[in-house]
Symmetry: D2
């Protein structure tokens, strides 16, 4: 792996600086597929609530890379546990892990048949500038990087660093989203986490003395979910996008001519997997311009919904508890002259932050006790244990046009 | 002026919260012309250097409004010096002061015959949702707000708060740009500035005890210019945009069909003032999509330059000192097969941060001395005086395609 | 209540500024009994662990005052619920609530028969500059302020603001201790707490929308306990002070001449309540000087323990679980030639952070639900509920001289 | 140099963590002479103005050490320029550079015939735990460390890192004093300074690209002087201490019995250099206790001045410009019944922040230009040049008892 003549350092408010020593990282960063991430917001629709949450997946991806870089150079046990080739593999995987994201991630995945991970692997494995860079370095590298991302790499340590309950992805986004929203909920002591990680049996474990830091990290995540990621105003914007894309698909079936000039959306409407080239051209800028075009279509629903998206005319919401309630909202919306297919959206926010710690043991964060044994976090932490055995918080909300309330 | 039922508070990392009490502010904020500012970066091309500088003019405009709101409610002398109508006028002017900005501000102004202030006043004075909101409040309001923005309002205090050497605009952008770039250069003590402002003779003055805070503010500005605003990488991106728009105009003259589908740029190419509707549709998203379209034009220069803009293939630069040097660069670039018209850009960064304090006295920040007299800052501050009488720093750079150096 | 000619503002990193409008607050602040708090560390022995935790109860007391001042002026419901006299009462109580603290609080209370609250009320009620200031303002004021502090004031709202599960005392110390230790554990969103407080039935309640902020505040407290307040190194220093004061008392009984020159400790050794004058002279400076004198006494144990205190020769510790273990440590220490009376210390850290929410209902934080009803926090928050019903964390540690391990 | 079994890390809000790898650093830190620094405020009397500026020289000394440690390990050119023995020497010198400070530094030096540097070298060179630790490591080490401190070490690089216009001492105290006062004036980009330092001809130089960071650092220092270090309230407290020590000396001459019990001050009154043991016992705690004892002396001036010191009854001040004015203040104070010898203090604050850059060339910060030449900062920076050639700010204040104004 060749080094740059001079280390590149990029100022970053979350990490101080991002340090780039390796040519392959620099080249990947400058590839069109990576530069495109500048045109995808990290938090999809959240900047409609927290107006300063305008940061992109570009910045986040650099942050994830930086955390992995620090883990493999500053943490002695991780550094010793990996070969140079594995180090390169995991740094590249960290940098590229989000490269397949579509615009407004959630909404995009709802209308696409493929996940962003499918697209990420596709870009890494074939037909892209990124692929060429990796392949030129080592013909095995594209596949090895993709294996880290799809959890099939033989060394679980690499997978864990990029995607697990305690991975560089979360470590970066909690701090970054906290910084850019201006809330303090996502803050925890990253320095201490990096210092208390150890390796046992090819897995990351956390020293017992670091348990409180991990508890703090988990609570940070919990609060970010409820205060930021699940914020009803952000979800309301997603509800509009959801209706809009539903309607777009239906108009494309019924009156294709009315939408045939929306070039950026056509590949998506044909329902198959986008090519890397097509995905490259589909970013939030092209969507926003698409919404402008849509707002002049013949179809009145499409015109209305795209105008709402452009100018933030949001939906209202109520909390509901039963299927009966859901049904009566449907009746009411319909009776007011709105088609619930596009103008009603039910959102379930089911306590996801706990979930991972239930279920499969292999997902658990592991703790290295003072006596050398390894315990599951839920055993080692009274707080996590209490939360796991407590009642789940979950909420169901129905969204509908604000004017129905007036 | 009617109040909202409940104060709206928006989380903002720079100010803690933005507080909105008045319905007219809330309504302006939700107008399409203001929502469009979400799609214009505050720092044009700077996020190409400081990757987290992705904040928009939307957030900045709210910040300017908040500072003015605090000045007129928390600073006793300012509060007493203004009528309720004037307070509304200046708050609205602060909120709307940037509403006429085009995409990538500098580049836009270079190819447009009109300034962003012309457009701002146009939106306020006619044919827009914003205009309707102001007019409904008071038929004089549009004109009074525009007068604040074009420096023709009879009360200089209003003008000064929005646009002067010590205005809410700068007070916000220094802190905001520092926060989002992650540099500390732009920081100064805003709280203290707000507390040390007084009113004498319809002008803002600063108490003598606040001089060090003002010196710190001026140095903050100076350092932000050199470390952020004049950063050669950001200028390099502007150089590309400049060449691109030059070429676009020329192709439009020579082979209009090749660019006739670039709908978003057509009004601009016709060289007259854009209508409010046309400006509304011209944001950085439509530009970015336009660059995608351009990268498939027939014209090879347009294709090349738009690809550079999309994928950050930047120009290199050298510092030059003489017209002769400039000329020989032109020869060299031309001899290498590049048309200097589009592939060479000369940027003069002439110590602008000092300038204002020279020249006209009415532009000076005034200081209220302990003995009750009012002095110009350059007399009252040994630091500012030294800087004014010191040698000016200015630099001239020539930008050209990186590959010429390889 | 007379106002100052000019508001006094004191820079404070936690609150930005402390604002003092009222002459009585300014006068109390300048009284010798309050100035003495500069010579008492806020965190007793914690700066032996976190070397920057050198802040005093003086700074903390100003912070508690500032939070109460903001609550009664910025929070509309609290402002409306109180008379002017009650506002003055609660501000003064907030400022003075810690005035009776002895040096190294815990250790002091262990050897004194009276609590710091007893001393605080004593200073307020008689024979002090503070008393004179309050009495001159209103002859009832000393008694009313003391009633707030000893929880006997008829208006529970005043008591709650100064001392409850969600009081200005904790609100300040969590943020302040986090700032001065340099940890982030104690951070939570104070602004939001202040904004979501309401008054129902003469009690502070928190709006349902603020629950996550309160959960964050409770977790902040929990983490500060384990990471800072219960830190074994800090406790180790307390163990030494405990042995030292025990020994001092015993030498005073057995060989009074050896300690008769330790003027600062004599009143304490006579076992009765200190007079206000005696307490005024007993601060951490006089203790430290006392330790210097002690290190030259005849008694070898006193000399050794005071030298440990002065030069941070700390005790080691082990975690123990049973009374049997405790007993065998005692045997061991004794067999090594150390008297366990002074050289062994058992510290129980029993999950105090949960406790308050168990037990008496009147101690619970109350939540104002969207439907207008009031619930206990443990019912309204799944997190707090889970923690309450989870297993308690508690630890028992035994401390002994480090050299026993060598 | 032996390493610790496990790196010690100390949380520090300014640097994140202080890292200690070497046993000798850990041992020095735990020596009584170093632990004593916990009982000396970093900013002498400034916490009387900025109430949170309660940090000690202990914390600052660790910070200076940490900066030097980072310079010699993270900065490649500095690392390559030094032998391992030199690295140890400069780290130890950084840690110990303030070890000879007396209580309330300025006031102490005014009444002592020796500087804190004399005392520092004395502790390092003989008769102390610190000396023993250094000597045991290498018999030359005490002398080599002292040579760094007294500017006589043959390698100027070592001297510069600890004491020069751009040394670790200033780098730490600006950030630390800013943090603990809660002002932002002292902030500058430490990371960038550490990264832009190079070595030429055994001297530290700064890369041209780092000039703005250095300008910011110099302005930070300038503003800290005027806003913090020269703050008249802090000086007022020093005026009282000055009078108090003057009076103490005179009473000792005239009526020695009245002060013979002030054991902590006796060595000082005998006018010779204190022994290391005597200095060890003279800290701000013993002074504060001494003030308590003094407030019960027979001498009324001593009683009055010590009561002022204990209870912050400050002096007032006026700005004066001429010797005549100074004389008439003296007359007035005397005529009011106060002895100007103890109750009048004239303080000259002569623009010290500029000074160093004038005068001797060897004191200048040097800049490594892009073309490889080395320039003096005053030539390379238009700002520093302007300041150097500008008019000096200097002020003279006279302090006297507040009651004279009533």
């Amino acid at each position: 792996m060749s080094l740059l003549n001079e280390i590149k350092v990029l100022r970053d408010p979350v990490h101080g600086y991002i340090h780039i020593h390796d040519k392959i990282i620099w080249d990947c960063m400058n590839a069109p597929e990576f530069q495109r991430l500048r045109r995808i917001h990290q938090l999809g629709t959240t900047h409609q609530v927290y107006h300063t949450a305008e940061h992109s997946r570009f910045a986040h991806s650099l942050g994830v890379y930086e955390i992995v870089r620090r883990l493999i150079t500053e943490n002695e046990e991780i550094s010793n546990a990996l070969t140079d080739y594995e180090k390169m593999t995991v740094m590249v995987a960290a940098l590229l892990h989000d490269i397949g994201h579509g615009p407004f991630s959630h909404s995009f995945e709802q209308i696409s048949s493929y996940s962003h991970e499918d697209y990420t692997c596709n870009i890494i494995l074939r037909d892209s500038k990124i692929h060429d860079i990796l392949y030129a370095e080592d013909p095995d590298l594209p596949n090895d990087v993709a294996n880290v991302i799809r959890h099939t790499h033989p060394n679980p340590l690499l997978v864990q660093m990029v995607s697990s309950q305690l991975d560089a992805d979360r470590m970066d986004y909690l701090l970054r989203d906290a910084y850019f929203t201006g809330t303090s909920y996502g803050e925890y002591d990253l320095e201490r986490v990096l210092r208390t990680v150890r390796v046992r049996d090819h897995r990351m474990v956390v020293k017992e003395s670091g348990i409180h830091t991990i508890e703090d990290y988990i609570m940070a995540r919990y609060h970010m979910y409820w205060q930021v990621y699940y914020h009803p105003v952000g979800r309301s914007y997603e509800a509009i996008l959801h209706g809009l894309f539903e309607r777009l698909r239906d108009v494309y079936e019924e009156d294709p001519e009315d939408v045939s000039h929306l070039m950026m959306f056509l590949p998506l409407l044909q329902h198959q997997m986008l090519t890397n080239r097509e995905l490259l051209e589909l970013d939030e800028c092209s969507c926003q311009y698409g919404f402008q075009l849509m707002s002049k279509c013949k179809d009145t629903i499409l015109r209305d919904l795209s105008d709402r998206a452009l100018n933030r005319r949001l939906f209202d919401y109520d909390t509901i508890v039963s299927v009966e309630q859901e049904y009566s909202y449907k009746q009411w919306i319909s009776s007011m002259g709105y088609d619930p297919e596009y103008y009603m959206y039910v959102d379930r926010t089911e306590a996801r932050p706990y979930e991972p710690y239930k279920g499969q043991e292999e997902n658990e964060i592991l703790v290295l006790m003072r006596d050398g044994t390894v315990k599951r976090l839920s055993e080692a932490s009274v707080i996590v244990n209490a939360i796991l055995n407590g009642q789940n918080k979950n909420e169901k909300k129905v969204f509908y046009p604000k004017e129905l309330n007036e």
